[in-house]
Amino acid sequence: MVYAIFMLLTLMTLAANWLRYPLQLPLFIVTVVWMALYLALDMTTPLTLSF
């Protein structure tokens, strides 16, 4: 589901871009930051467990 939410956010950013809606950049930033945090969690969890 989380990946579907990321893709929905991407689609909403595309729609905002098309409509020149001012939320375009905030939506893009939220998607990128959320994905970066999700990826960072994925990268650090096995490392933490290995100690």
Partner: protein, 186 residues
Amino acid sequence: MSRLYPLAAAANVWALVLILAGGFAVQLITGELPCPLCVMQRIALMLCALGPLHILLSARDGALTARAAAVGNGMAIVAALLGAAASGRQVFLHILPGDPGFGAPVLGLHLYTWGLIAFACQIAASGVMLIATSWLEEKPAMWGGLARWTAIALAAIVIANLLSVIAEAGLHWGLPESPEDYLMFK
């Protein structure tokens, strides 16, 4: 340059759409489902495409400004860094000698290695586009039709991947490390 710039942005979006379509075709033809990191890379490719699309849509009914070009290229670079982190992570997961890697290789390289190359190329392309804003003349150049069809193509590939990942994950929050079935239909 005012004519070339939106054309280069459109070529950038179409290149990313073709890469996404290629990945989707491999999924459908070979039956290999994308792993969580593969899906993250696909989303990063979609986010990369939003940058040049922003440039193209800004030029659809008026002059392309240097501000729109800077914002679009900045979006593409940030998304490409995110994608490079995901694909780099996956390359390192399979870097040990004897590791067969995830999925079948395409033209000798695994899809995540191709992904890392694509993200590096995207960063380079956006850097060149940023340098090229020096020669950007803010003259009106109508690109309505090209912008519309490019946006439709990107939206179509995003929706196809969205439906695919919903079928793959079912009602689960995440995805299994090595997905083998569409969980929605199990």
